[in-house]
Symmetry: D2
Subunit: 365 residues, 4 copies
Amino acid sequence: MSGSTFGELFCVTNFGESHGPAIGCVIDGCPPGMALSEADIQPELDRRRPGTSRHVTQRNEPDQVQILSGVYEGKTTGTPICLLIPNTDQRSKDYGNILDTFRPGHADYTYWRKYGLRDPRGGGRSSARLTAPMVGAGAIARKWLFEKYGTQFRACMTQLGELKVPFEGWEHTSRNPFFAANASSIAEMEAYMDALRKSGDSVGARIHLEATAVPVGLGAPLFDKLDSDIAYAMMGINAVKGVEIGAGFACVAQRGSEHGDELTPQGFRSNHSGGVLGGISTGQDLSVDIAIKPTSSIRTPRASINRELEPTTVETFGRHDPCVGIRATPIAEAMLALVLMDHALRHRAQCGDVSLPVPAIAAHS
Amino acid sequence: MSGSTFGELFCVTNFGESHGPAIGCVIDGCPPGMALSEADIQPELDRRRPGTSRHVTQRNEPDQVQILSGVYEGKTTGTPICLLIPNTDQRSKDYGNILDTFRPGHADYTYWRKYGLRDPRGGGRSSARLTAPMVGAGAIARKWLFEKYGTQFRACMTQLGELKVPFEGWEHTSRNPFFAANASSIAEMEAYMDALRKSGDSVGARIHLEATAVPVGLGAPLFDKLDSDIAYAMMGINAVKGVEIGAGFACVAQRGSEHGDELTPQGFRSNHSGGVLGGISTGQDLSVDIAIKPTSSIRTPRASINRELEPTTVETFGRHDPCVGIRATPIAEAMLALVLMDHALRHRAQCGDVSLPVPAIAAHS
Amino acid sequence: MSGSTFGELFCVTNFGESHGPAIGCVIDGCPPGMALSEADIQPELDRRRPGTSRHVTQRNEPDQVQILSGVYEGKTTGTPICLLIPNTDQRSKDYGNILDTFRPGHADYTYWRKYGLRDPRGGGRSSARLTAPMVGAGAIARKWLFEKYGTQFRACMTQLGELKVPFEGWEHTSRNPFFAANASSIAEMEAYMDALRKSGDSVGARIHLEATAVPVGLGAPLFDKLDSDIAYAMMGINAVKGVEIGAGFACVAQRGSEHGDELTPQGFRSNHSGGVLGGISTGQDLSVDIAIKPTSSIRTPRASINRELEPTTVETFGRHDPCVGIRATPIAEAMLALVLMDHALRHRAQCGDVSLPVPAIAAHS
Amino acid sequence: MSGSTFGELFCVTNFGESHGPAIGCVIDGCPPGMALSEADIQPELDRRRPGTSRHVTQRNEPDQVQILSGVYEGKTTGTPICLLIPNTDQRSKDYGNILDTFRPGHADYTYWRKYGLRDPRGGGRSSARLTAPMVGAGAIARKWLFEKYGTQFRACMTQLGELKVPFEGWEHTSRNPFFAANASSIAEMEAYMDALRKSGDSVGARIHLEATAVPVGLGAPLFDKLDSDIAYAMMGINAVKGVEIGAGFACVAQRGSEHGDELTPQGFRSNHSGGVLGGISTGQDLSVDIAIKPTSSIRTPRASINRELEPTTVETFGRHDPCVGIRATPIAEAMLALVLMDHALRHRAQCGDVSLPVPAIAAHS
């Protein structure tokens, strides 16, 4: 019920604000006996970390994670795992000029209207910084799912503003600052971002996301559908405005004879479903696409109002990502892993442990 | 936690199968003292009902709702409201030929893999028929939200297969069998559907959805974001493969200076946000788009397997919607109403009742 | 979250009122593939049924259960099971005299204060009649637990008013109208109840409850302790005012050297813990005691107020149990079964299926 | 669902182990705008703190609480409040002799059976130390309830081992190390405890608990009854084996004409109900009693087994409370406050804010 808890059985409760002393999360329900240390988590946080290229915010946070509980002698005990990430580079003064006004497209206004007050330091609770603990929690889910089923997660940017990024191979995603599965367009993307940054504006992005070696049978018929929970998780990532599973919006113009993936003893002949039918995983790869809006904190002057509802103009200085979509890639992977982890445990509860890992028919997608 | 319960505070628990004795739901958490009778609910069910035009399934169900509990002397008592809808037109033999095989694109296969058995009569639990109780529950939410805040819900089909349906006015949606906000394209749509039906195939559709007079401040910062819950609800509707809030996927190519809706004392200057910022409602109209895949039950022969994993061919006879997107319109409205109802109650819990209905600045979208 | 739903993974949502058209429940999360028919459920309902002896209410309800969903060809499908029990003997006029007043010790007053209105027919939602669907749901849990682990449930009355009922053997409980594990005191109990009934008053009772062949390891360290959930379930039964686990209140005067159950390779030497340590089952028998208050609907005139808060006198006529504790016995068994069922599924989720049924050391209690 | 989260709308997620780096909790759902600082919380923690007299464990922890999030400029923001309490006095070697064996009456055995491993340092997660964050969370709930409704909480020891402690006045509870509402028996209690400590054994205790100025109408009819949730909360406190509401087990021997509290325009004539009827608060004082078992960590040698299931003898050295019941008093108050806080928010959600604080009739108990 808590608006800061994600998951039903693998429950992650997130806390903290962008410029408070620390952020973190409590992970409850982790199966006991899994080897775990900070070294399993830190690499994922490093992928999401700010300050890694000139195309992301220059805030310089090491995002060093500490395990405060739930691990004894290098193994999970089955009790809650608390991850703590101290905030080390808060420059509250950067945000001084937005204390009394509201940035167009930002949560400034709605927080103030909901709660009657807000923590303006770095966006407070609305900061994308709060995704860091989720990336940490996701690393634990990924480890368990990989060890148990071989499940893996990968994502790449497929569009940057109006620039489409052709898919050239998963191996490229770790070799450029954009998580692009591409080598040939990187120079163009760099130039695009440099020009954008100079202009003081921001752009959106599109991310494609996959999970492989997904157990068949995860999900539920009516409301806790696997794809519903994926949509919930994705739309919950800061700045996401659209989610597609499999064919997504392209399915509108498809015929049933085209969209429905034919089955053969060797596997499905296509994957328009994106790996989910009737809310339950088919054993094929999960395939998800998300749209990320342009950052709302931009230098371009914009019309707004202040807390007295008087007209004013807002310009945002400070350190901001000109395209939040770039760092969203590891975040989306983590959130997808958390959804699968939760459903894997739910499936065990109702149907037991047997037969999950091996699909009846070969999955090809 | 239950996969058949929707909502946290306005909880709707759904039960039944397409061809069992009855379907229905239990609604828990309804505020007491609201006037309510079957007459408040039946009209919404009638909008969703099958058999109303030649373009939808010819199954002929009156879908007559009974209130079994929770109402005394015409008022809600605050205790659970059970809605029962008897099934009256089950023709199980229509489905005989799919007992042992799996329809491409259908939940047949995943149910069987998850549970080891399935109720094949009319799709059992995976039938879109199970949305009827949600439409009933949605009618109660709509009534309460309208009486309290003036909130209203409306939706229209904006694309049928490859046919775009121009918006001409909300008044048209009740005057054609497609819920199209359009008068000039109806003849073309009728011809399109007639040809499709003859071909034995099916198509997808795109639906646009709005809520007006939405209280400002509904939602939560991190996980129970209003837009996350909308995405969850929409993706949970049968056959939905994509969800957009506001600008949706179009935001990818937008600049921040274009996407961020400027504020003035008279209201927002645009509504790219779709009425949600940082997971919390702005007081503008909610704006949502969904993609609905083509029906998987088609007459066209398709390759598949049987339960022994041997290759076979499947053709589906019986009564099916050639475009499930048509009847999805009232369903989507109902699900959006349920999301808002739940968040209205959650907001009252944390922030109290004051100041919800009137936005600080005039909403224009 | 719903106040009418019990359980997290084996979720029972209850609906109905004493004198509405029907009562029932929706059970979500039941493992698929278990043989189930009304014949598995009806015998438990018959044990709880009114009108079976002169010592309980003379309301004559057959309490005939119907399975509306979730079972196909005699097996659970994994989807929600709806149980419906029509109300057939409503005599609303019996309650006419309490429409405007509040019975001392009854929920009349609090319902009216909470909701601003109430359904007075037979106590509406506060009637013990609403336990019937729980007994039905409990029957399903009992079947699954017995088939999987051999777990069984039994309960007996150990005190009737000031009359202590010595334990003489479990075999007696089905042979007398009091669920007493006793043969020698029955005549005295009959005479006691006859005199009480004539006096127009009511009495309390004490029930002892056990579960045998309980898997070791059910429960959770901090809040979802097995004993917490048992206390929650027991205190939720109508009229219960006290709950004890194992030694219960007697532990106050015990020394640690006496209370702590010593372990040997052959099992525990005693069972002061009642089968739970640190919130987790030990594998010993669960042992629970509950106190049930005297019925509040009595013929004896009592001071009260009416809805205008004016003083008045209340006498209750109609058909009431002079000792609700009598019929509470099968209810308590059912609720304990529901708690164990839920924890068995939760345990599977986190720890998997292995090794649950066999305790490491022989259980003796 | 998480076994480490307490509450539905005022959600407290607890983390940590007795001898890890820190313990704490995340409180989600706190209403915004309430003044809050560590100074509001620390006094309650100081009441529960170890080392305050020779009758409790000599572990010397300052239990200094830090607010990590959710408060900005001295006010709650409506976002999660993280409380951190560093562990400063871990002496792991004290527990060395129980690494491989199981203390009779302790969670040692069940944790090991459930999870296959355990953190033995100071009892790990099963330590009563984990109640400290709940006392912190409870302090926040108490502040809000007092400011809004004037609700207050108080508790006292009414029995220490076989020693009954007569009630002489609430003012005494803060003047003796036992939280006894008594002045005349303190010397006897001191002597009793000194003898007990020397003997190396432990005893149980009985605690009486009250809440005053309780809003009428809190709770729900069927499962989220106020008294069910109180029973759940109380039974969840370490070492509690019994819970009574109002008359408790004494109700068994009462007649209905005695037990049912008569109503008058000036208030109830008695409070056998303990302030709850039909699961909903009457507006009278809440009255609760709990039984706390003797500590299981004692010096007296006891028969047990080791992890190889071989017979052995266990003696526990180190610093332990000879009567855990002493420090349970502030813990029980905090847990009761958390239950009421949660129900106050739930009530607002369904029924709105109006009319809660003032009972219709004067409450006297």
